[in-house]
């Protein structure tokens, strides 16, 4: 029996004429109605259950129980229903599903959950839909890294950089997955004060970016800047940039390089 037929049985005596609309396909519990049931927008039946009798409430509850438990339907707030459909349309598949699989056993569970949500946010964005609430949810749940991780997903760092980082660390004889997880976490949390040294930018561009960020961070008092590079060429570039500050008495440097000299994380403290 359809929802409409069931509701007719509950309210027919009082609202038979309203419920005789055969084009009703949506049902929404709300308020702001003059009667217990009203048709709005041609196909939506709005029910103000606060106006129903105790007997009617009991029968409506039975209908809901039947839909949820027997028909296996999720009974949601209208906004949550729309949000769930939006998510469903953007669940990872193909390339993004493969990307998630890669990180499944490599990231900490909370980092992995944030990555999955961020990939969905990226897919939603690419469909031209609003992502502000979803981004806020990620930041609220993971305040120390959620927003940064979301931004790194948008910029493609999980497609290349963090994969390359894993491959480089894996080549070390004493590879430890915990060290990889710590490194990823450090980079993500430090995003606002990190410069990624990459071969896609010229030396002058990278050097200028470091100088610009240093000046800005000095002004805003963060007190440190991270330089992060992968591959021998980028490690060498990073070391050359660091040379520019070697004589600077106001800057201390902490440099981490792996034994094969393919990963560098340098922290400038000022």
């Amino acid at each position: 029996m359809t929802i409409l037929e069931n509701l007719k049985k509950v309210f027919e005596g009082k609202f038979g004429d309203i419920l005789s609309h055969n084009n009703i396909t949506l049902f929404n519990f709300s308020r702001n109605t003059n009667e217990t049931v009203e048709v709005k927008g041609g196909n939506k039946l709005v029910i103000d259950i606060s106006k129903a009798t105790e007997e009617e409430k009991k029968l409506v509850k039975n209908i809901l129980d039947s839909r949820v438990q027997s028909e296996n339907e999720a009974f949601l707030m209208d906004h949550s229903s729309e949000k769930t459909l939006k998510i469903k349309r953007s669940l990872p598949f193909g390339e993004s599903e493969e990307l998630l699989k890669f990180y499944k056993d490599k990231l900490k569970p909370e980092m992995y959950k944030a990555l999955e949500a961020s990939i969905i946010v990226k897919n939603v964005f690419e469909r031209g839909e609003d992502i502000s609430e979803m981004k806020r949810d990620i930041s609220d749940k993971y305040p120390t890294f959620g927003n940064n991780l979301c931004n790194l997903v948008t910029r493609g760092y999980f497609n290349e950089h963090f994969k390359e980082l894993y491959q480089s660390m894996l080549e070390d004889e004493e590879f430890d997955i915990n060290a990889y997880q710590r490194k990823v976490e450090k980079i993500i949390k430090s995003l606002p004060y990190t410069v990624f040294i990459t071969r896609y930018k010229s030396y002058d561009e990278l050097s200028g970016e470091v100088r610009f960020k240093l000046d800005r961070l000095k002004k805003y008092g963060t007190g440190k800047l991270l330089l992060h590079g992968l591959g021998r060429e980028n490690v060498n570039t990073t070391m050359t940039i660091l040379e520019e500050y070697r004589e600077n008495n106001h800057i201390n440097m902490q440099i981490e390089i792996n034994p094969k000299k393919t990963i560098i994380t340098a922290t400038l403290i000022f």
Partner: protein, 79 residues
Amino acid sequence: MKLSQITFSELASKDILELYGKSIDDEGFIVEKDNPSQRVLTPNGEEIPLKEWGGIRKGSEAFIKKDTFSLIELAKKLE
């Protein structure tokens, strides 16, 4: 699992909870009306403030939150 054609607006949240024998405690959490010291939990064991409640799915009164993470889990189960 499917999304129901029946939904509720934020205005009717308390009416729906009332149907299910729930009410709201002083701190804004959903509780059993007959036993207000017992807060309703999600299937993951989280307490649910009214403002974070998203709806109900199959289970022993499975109340769920409306944040992105809860709805991702729901969306994965949809046909």
